[in-house]
Amino acid sequence: MLDSPRLELAVRRGPLPVEDLRSTTVVDDPVQRRDLILLERARGGDLDAFNDLVICYQDQLFALIVRMVPDRDQASDCVQEAFFSAYRNLKGFRGGSVKSWLNRIAVNAAMDIQRARKRRPSQPYPELEDESWQPPAGEDADPVNTALTVERHRVLNAALGTITDDQRTAIVLFDVEGYDYQEIADMTGVSLGTVKSRIHRGRLALRDRLAERMELFRG
């Protein structure tokens, strides 16, 4: 590998395993059009329209935030607070993607919680709370591989919970959610260089935490 002129890079390539949050910026997108209609009605005072938006996005926002805050209860509170904030600031929406707008509000709400907490989470990630959870596996999945995958996710989640809030937020937004550097910079209100630095330092910190278990990842 080292002799190869094309080094492997830890850059996200290809389609995301989950829906790409950047895909709704196209005006012709029916989802975006629906969101804009609902938002416009909500701005006119239609609470049902706003609640339709809530139903559309509450699970997605929860899935994003639950990786950034210590537990599911806080994630739920955070998403609720994000919807409150969105409702308060409906007139502040200045076009673009409704989904991105809501994501930014939710991320900022999560960062507010992180700032207020100022301490390490003791039980940081949802998978650790629910031992019955298993990743989806095909019918022909190898039980050994499945077990290794479960263990890899477990230790990785645990390690993610021990790095700093800023680093975790940047890594989740970049690696898990698929945002690019500039989008993360806009979302978190820091410079592009700071985003890069947080991601780099976060990965180095993860590697330190996972030093004893790196064989799970090298295979």
Binding site: A10, Q58, V66, S85, D112, W133, V176, G189, K196, I199
Partner: protein
């Protein structure tokens, strides 16, 4: 292309951030060449690079968390009513949304107000400081005397005309020199100042400007050591106390109010632009 000469003696000295940046694909040019050379020359760096890539891949493939069961975050009409902005708060989003203007304006206003307060008060202090110097007579027309000094010597009082209190004056007296010790000694109640200034005990005096009623800041007594009649300006004698009574010139001036308002407005704008982060427009 020959690899650049990387003289390293220990992996601990290598730049791990360089490896992380290379693994993320953020390097170009000579930085990238240097990082590649480092990987080729140091097995630990190569391992680190591979590990970072593996971790990034594993993070990207983390499964989505389980959705919260029964999550229903819809707003009730009561919540919506509570969240709806009324009165002046309706205008906050339109102000805070323009953070490109709001933030610099807030910083500018707060800075302007702060500097204005400091400079304004300093220059005011300098103006009043010069008024009372030179004896009782020269200060008779001054509207405000921020501090008065009463020297009660235990023995021989300072009557040689040298200025008092000099270095032992209170902080207020350091910017506003007190009348001469001679005047103080010869006129214990500052009678030569007429009824414009308060007495040494800080009591109010009839005839003060109505809009700038002096307020007593209390009296501080400083021990005066027994002097040997040297060059010091303190009261001479076997010791005693030097009383320094501070007063203010009355309520805040218009400029201070304006500067204060600028600070408050600037802070409000800063907070408003800060809150924009929680609710991006």
């Amino acid at each position: 292309m020959p690899a650049p000469d990387v003289r390293v003696t220990s992996h601990d000295r290598h730049d791990t951030m360089l490896m992380a940046a290379l693994a993320a694909g953020d390097l170009a040019g000579t930085d990238r060449d240097q990082a590649v050379a480092l990987i080729q020359s140091c097995p630990d760096c190569a391992t680190l690079h591979a590990d970072l890539i593996a971790i990034a891949r594993a993070t990207a493939t983390l499964p989505p968390p389980i959705a919260a069961s029964g999550l229903d975050l819809r707003l009730s009409p009561e919540q919506a009513e509570r969240l709806r902005r009324t009165g002046w708060r309706r205008f906050v989003p339109s102000v805070s949304a323009r953070s490109a203007v709001t933030r610099p304006l807030g910083i500018g206003l707060a800075t302007f107000g702060l500097i204005g307060l400091v400079v304004g008060n300093l220059s005011l202090g300098g103006m009043t400081a010069s008024a009372p110097t030179g004896g009782a007579g020269s200060a008779a027309g001054a509207p405000v005397l921020p501090s008065t000094v009463d020297i009660q010597g235990g023995g021989e009082s300072a009557s040689d005309g040298r200025n008092a209190p000099g270095p032992i004056a209170s902080p207020a007296a350091s910017t506003v020199p007190a009348p001469s010790a001679a005047a103080a000694a010869s006129a214990p109640a500052f009678s030569s100042y007429g009824n414009i200034y308060p007495s040494a005990s800080g009591s109010s005096v009839a005839g003060a400007i109505a809009s700038a009623e002096p307020r007593s800041l209390g009296t501080t007594e400083y021990p005066v050591p027994a002097a040997s009649g040297g060059k010091t300006s303190q009261a001479e004698g076997s010791g005693g106390t030097l009383s320094v009574t501070g007063t203010t010139g009355g309520g805040p001036s218009l400029s201070n109010v304006l500067f204060g308002a600028a600070i408050v407005l600037g802070l409000i704008l800063l907070i408003a632009s800060r809150r924009r982060g929680s609710a991006p427009g």
